[in-house]
Symmetry: C2
């Protein structure tokens, strides 16, 4: 009787009532019921984005919202700063280049987070930069970036701060309004506990002003159209209504828990996972690890690809391996969305068992105990 456990940084497990909502007969997206659904979802997303700005949604994966952010905010030949510290920072750069936007890359060693001073220097040297593209959690490495510090730099200048919160929204803190972030993009299948297929974007007033100047080609990803229709509970094109019904269930969870508590829960289980990994004796890959996922550098004698494959096939445990240059070298254990202490215990104990099976010298239970200590500590604080 094999049970399956999913610890990938998207898709993440879906709450049972959201799964069951998708099994209901489908409805027409232009009905009054659909209008109410869309309005409710967009209102609740504001809570998750910690913003008073309206949130718009698109039927696409998160990359669609990234594509749209570039296409809607910029003009041909604009110059932008792009923080590249992994696969998703690179994606910002690729999208900009695809649209003829000139990038000034800020390259950071994979696993590290950008030092805000470097961004500051670049902004001083390039005052004509229209936007800074950054990543809240670089999913490929597990590194958290200090968006609050970056917003402090851009807030008082005309430069926009555009943040990829695709994986981290709802797991790592991102106070769009309080910090002064101009644009946040995200998607459904990570902290929002919904299947992939929906993407989101929130823009503040000065970002909306930039969309009026933008001359890049776009149609499907036209933010202004999506935004305007969204306000009426409508859409320019047929939306993934099945996923919207699931999202509504998932958002009800977050709104009931409260986003601040949701982030605290993620913080607790993330610290537990990190301490467990340290107790097991392996190094964390990210220097500033996110709440979203924990990346673990494997000993050289362990083939990460084979390890991940074995864990799935033999134990029903799905971790993510490394991407790009990290392929085979790291394991990524996500702990976001529909996750609690018990899930983390399963993830860690299976990790211990797996390591022992591939010959790593481990004292079984050490990681689990370290996690339990963290849970006890957090529980006493409540």
């Amino acid at each position: 009787m094999k049970k399956s456990y999913l610890f990938t940084p998207g898709p993440t497990p879906i709450p049972p009532e959201a799964l069951l909502a998708m099994a209901q007969p489908i409805d027409y997206h232009r009905s009054e019921d659909a209008v109410a659904l869309i309005k409710d979802v967009l209102e609740k997303l504001k809570h998750v984005f910690q913003t008073e700005n309206n949130v718009l949604f698109l039927t696409s994966s998160g990359t669609g919202a990234m594509d749209g952010a570039v296409a809607n905010l910029l003009c041909q030949g604009d110059k932008v700063l792009v923080v590249r510290s992994g696969k998703f920072g690179e994606r910002w750069a690729e999208i900009c280049e695809a649209y003829g936007v000139e990038i000034i890359p800020i390259d950071v060693k994979w696993g590290d987070s950008v030092a805000p001073e470097i961004v500051e220097t670049q902004l001083t040297e390039n005052p004509d930069v229209k936007a800074v593209f950054a990543t809240l959690c670089e999913t490929s490495t597990g590194a958290l970036h200090d968006i609050k510090a970056l917003a402090r730099l851009t807030q008082s200048s005309p430069t926009l701060l555009v943040v990829d919160a695709v994986s981290a929204l709802g797991a790592d803190d991102l106070q769009m309004d309080n910090w002064g972030v101009d644009v946040v993009v995200s998607c459904s299948q990570k902290g929002l506990m919904t299947p992939p297929g929906l993407a989101f974007a929130a823009l503040n007033e000065r970002a909306w002003e930039a969309t009026e100047r933008s001359n890049l080609s776009k149609y499907y990803f036209d933010f202004r159209k999506a935004h305007q229709r969204g306000l009426e509970g409508s859409v320019p094109y047929t939306p993934a209504i099945t996923l919207l019904t699931a999202l509504q269930c998932a958002l009800n969870h977050i709104c009931t828990e409260g986003i601040r508590n949701t982030i605290s829960r993620h913080n607790c289980i993330a610290i537990a996972t990190r301490n467990a990994v340290k107790a097991i004796g392996l190094p964390l890959f990210a220097s500033s690890p996110a709440n979203t996922l924990t990346s673990i550098r494997l000993p050289e004698e362990i083939d990460g690809k084979a390890f991940v494959k074995m864990m799935r096939e033999k134990h029903g445990i799905t971790y993510a391996g490394g991407q790009g240059e990290l392929s085979g070298k790291i394991v990524r254990i996500a702990h976001l969305g529909w996750m609690n202490e018990s899930d983390v215990i399963v993830a860690i104990s299976a990790f211990e068992r797996g390591l022992a099976e591939v010959g790593y010298d481990i004292s079984l239970g050490a990681g689990v105990a370290a996690a339990q200590e963290v849970f006890a500590k957090f529980s006493n604080q409540e």
Copy 2:
């Protein structure tokens, strides 16, 4: 005990096993199981597209594939012919304009289908036209276009024929290879009986050659990337995997029935619906109606918007009203996808009841009887 019946031209009803597939715990899209799923789905789509070309898929609604078709096939300043006979023909034109492509519109009265001779004349007068954009079934009017005749015109010239089969694929015949259509785009929530959120495109060899020359900006909708990854059972970006599992169930239905039989079934229930409407005494709106849906011109004294609203609220029957200039003037009854004779009987008998309720002078049962006659005739032919 109100039951709900959906007769909109997308979304269409989902087969029960597809609904249940979506209620299963979600899986990682980079697992070997997902690779097998993607490969299976893409192979089965070839049967539905009646082509030996590979089909690519995108996570978006059908408009995303239309956007991609323009962005991937053309260059800035290219000249194209666009058949505009309703809202979706207009969409082709809007997308082309958004990308800086020059359009020569061929405007056709809403409800009519384009005369191939007019396209022929335009092609002769504008030999530098790079593509003709057409629509198999113009969903806003219910009109079917003679794609076979258009393909005969483009096949021997360097001009590409790009067909929006968003609503009609699997309901109205479209023999991509036999007829020589260069590009076909479609989506999940119509004939393919799957929730909205997936779009598809099939390109033949000369269309792929055009993608190599194209210089329009694109990233998320890059067809070459989607195609290349699809061949490996992979994706450039996280796909709507939940919808892929539903699609697999739906495609199994079509492949078991066989696409030729699927189209015959649609033809039978479409004729039944049309004859029923005539027996009721109302005119069909489209001069060449599609198998996909039947558009009915309402008597002037009936407010179409109120009628559609009343049918949904009082009877649980969801038809679609008119769009754009047809708002309030027509009712559209879709009969595609997971539909059989019994569904059409429900659609027609409810339509009769509703018309009687709003004071239309009707002999109840006349439409139903006309439909039954068609079913009997088709049944005898088998």
